[in-house]
């Protein structure tokens, strides 16, 4: 069995936060990400979904070593990169790239698009200057922009075009792993589909492995192979995409699915919304005997394996 393109093992991030104290500030540990483990197999797209504050973005940034994890391991092709220093990390940086939601602030306004796309080649000292520019223009074409765009500047582009440039820049080094953090959230409906399709095509052509972070479940459904649901810093459910949509087990996953807007006015319904308390009390109770992998009975919820590829946070009984 080959190692997955990206694997996170027990990744955690804690921040100190002020919890009050008008006279003397008191600090508590805020656990933004709490022991997240997930696998992005080679040539697959994994969706990481959750709401703001779920820790999904922090997880994505830690996977890229753009934020230092408090504990846990990050494995790229089976090699642990979580403790590597700056210099040792550099070769791995070529293999992992990221695309953000707000591509406008991620593109240097003073650089032409050709320079922006060629920059990673420049940083890693690959190719001659001429070859770098040629490669950049080639990539602009590949993401659906004319070569003439090479001489333009970011402010001349629409949101969708900027996102194409961001994707070209991320992929020019031919990484094996791409983290895409809400890349379509700021885009118009008609353009969103273009970017999703572009990601699909490039993923298939290049055999890319993508961690796709999003709150948009409809997009996740049409793009990803597997979905990981995060809630309050923890993974609460993880399964093949269709299993999440059809047989989700966790109350939080179900509340997310229930909130998806209807596609047609005739499907309108009155919803009853779950509070944080009903989600907490609705965590499934499973007997250890029914699980696909052994788990210790415990009153505290743990992530258990219900079928070989479906894991859910549950309370395990004897």
């Amino acid at each position: 069995m080959t190692a997955p393109a990206l694997e996170l093992r027990g990744l955690s991030k804690k921040f100190p936060i002020r919890v009050g104290g008008r006279l003397l500030p008191r600090y508590a540990e805020h656990v933004a990400v709490d022991g997240v483990s997930l696998v992005v197999p080679t040539n697959r797209i994994v969706g990481l979904v959750g709401e703001s504050g779920s820790g999904k973005t922090t997880t994505g940034l830690m996977a890229m070593r753009l934020i230092e994890p408090t504990s846990g391991q990050i494995l790229i092709d089976g090699k642990d990169i979580s403790r590597l220093g700056h210099a040792e990390l550099k070769p791995f940086r070529r293999q992992m790239q990221v695309v953000f939601q707000d591509s406008y602030s991620a593109l240097d306004p003073m650089m032409t698009l050709a320079q922006i796309v060629a920059e990673p080649l420049h940083i890693h000292g690959l190719m001659t200057a001429r070859a770098q520019t040629e490669a950049a223009l080639g990539w602009l074409e590949r993401v659906g922009l004319d070569r003439s765009y090479g001489q333009r500047y970011p402010h001349e582009l629409s949101g969708g075009q900027r996102q194409r440039v961001a994707i070209a820049r991320a992929l020019i080094l031919r990484p094996s792993v791409l983290v895409a953090d809400e890349p379509t959230s700021a885009l118009d409906v008609s353009v969103k589909a273009q970017i999703i399709n572009l990601l699909q095509d490039l993923q298939e052509e290049m055999g890319l492995s993508i961690l796709f972070i999003s709150h948009d479940l409809s997009v996740v459904r049409s793009l990803t192979d597997t979905v990981v649901v995060m809630h309050r810093g923890r993974v609460v459910e993880q399964a093949p995409t269709e299993a999440i949509f059809l047989e989700s087990r966790h109350p939080y996953t179900r509340s997310l699915l229930d909130a998806i807007p209807v596609l047609h006015p005739r499907d309108r319904r009155r919803r009853t919304f779950q509070s944080a308390e009903t989600i907490a009390t609705g965590i499934p109770r499973l007997s250890a005997r029914d699980l696909a992998a052994p788990a210790m009975p415990s009153a505290t919820p743990q992530l258990v394996t219900v079928t070989p590829d479906h894991r859910v946070e549950a309370i395990v009984t004897a």
């Binding site: 936060i17 919890v19 104290g21 008008r22 006279l23 003397l24 500030p25």
Partner: protein, 309 residues
């Protein structure tokens, strides 16, 4: 908050110490001494005796500790240039003109600047805006002594309306007060204009309009209050800066204020006076900034009430 203030007080103490050492060293490392002036030739013996009397023959660090020991007892010594009184006595006398002229300058200049800035922000790109911006630019770019000279030339020399210089009768105050007011006026005009424009562009102002609030109420209750937070916090440091006297303005108008003593104490190597002035101004600025920061925290609900509930 208390912890924060304590931390700041410690940092003020450190600043005070560092400034005192630096100034003391610099003062003494400049060539020359209090009795080297050419207008007062002294025999070597007399000079040595005077130096011994003032303790200036001792090693520098001993002098420093002696001096600082005095400072901690609020004894700043005796100014060389006026041995009949203490430094404290001289300063408390010199304070008054600076405080009156500089203080009035700020108290008059700042409100006018605020009004100008407000008018400029509310009537953007009107003649009012250009006037305010023009005045602000003039006030900040033209040196004070040029302004002072201009004032003297126009009102004292040509129009002969006001006395050119001196201290005492209130009519002598008018021109220096105007000179002192220039910088606060210009600073506040610019500051108010940009703070107001900044607030006016905030989305919540549109929401207030959409609620049907009158423009007057939006400006005077909401926009002004939001813009005031940064404006309040620059006031105290500016007040200290102006009210401790300006060397140029006091020299131009021959006002016997603190600023003029700054010059004379350096010129005549009047070590005790020089130290006292520097330490006093340092301390006042430190406290002005501390109080401003506390005010900022108190005025800003985001800091006052802490995080989310």
């Amino acid at each position: 908050m208390i912890l924060y203030i304590l931390r700041r007080l410690v940092s003020i103490a450190v600043t005070f110490f560092v400034v005192s050492v630096l100034v003391f060293l610099m003062m003494h490392s400049v060539p020359g001494g209090p009795f080297d002036g050419n207008d007062m030739p002294l025999s070597a013996a007399v000079r040595a005796k005077l130096m011994a009397q003032l303790g200036l023959d001792q090693p520098l660090h001993v002098q420093y500790f002696n001096y600082m020991a005095g400072v901690l007892r609020l004894d700043f010594g005796v100014p060389y240039q006026s041995p009949g009184e203490t430094v404290i006595g001289l300063l408390s006398r010199a304070w008054l003109p600076s405080l009156v002229l500089g203080g009035l300058g700020v108290l008059i200049g700042a409100p006018i600047g605020i009004l100008l800035g407000m008018a400029a922000a509310l009537k953007r790109n009107s003649w009012m805006d250009y006037l305010a911006s023009g005045l602000a630019t003039l006030g900040l770019t033209v040196p004070v002594f040029v302004i002072s000279m201009g004032l003297i030339l126009i009102f004292a020399v040509w129009l002969n309306w006001l006395p050119a210089s001196g201290w005492g009768k209130p009519e002598r105050w008018i021109l220096p007060i105007i000179a002192f007011a220039a910088i606060p006026l210009a600073t506040y005009a610019r500051y108010t204009r940009s703070a107001m424009l900044d607030t006016l562009n905030k989305p919540f102002v549109t929401v207030l309009r959409a609620k049907g609030l009158s423009e007057r109420r939006i400006i005077f209750q909401h926009v002004l209050r939001n813009s005031a937070i940064p404006m309040v916090t620059v006031f105290l440091p500016m007040f200290i800066g102006t009210a401790t006297g300006s060397i140029f303005v006091e020299a131009m108008f021959r006002v016997p204020g603190l600023g003029s003593y700054f010059v004379s104490s350096i010129q005549s190597r009047d070590y005790p006076l020089e130290m006292a002035l520097v330490l006093m101004v340092t301390l006042m600025f430190c406290f002005a900034y501390l109080i401003s920061d506390i005010l900022y925290a108190l005025l800003n609900p985001r800091i006052r009430t802490g995080g989310r509930r």
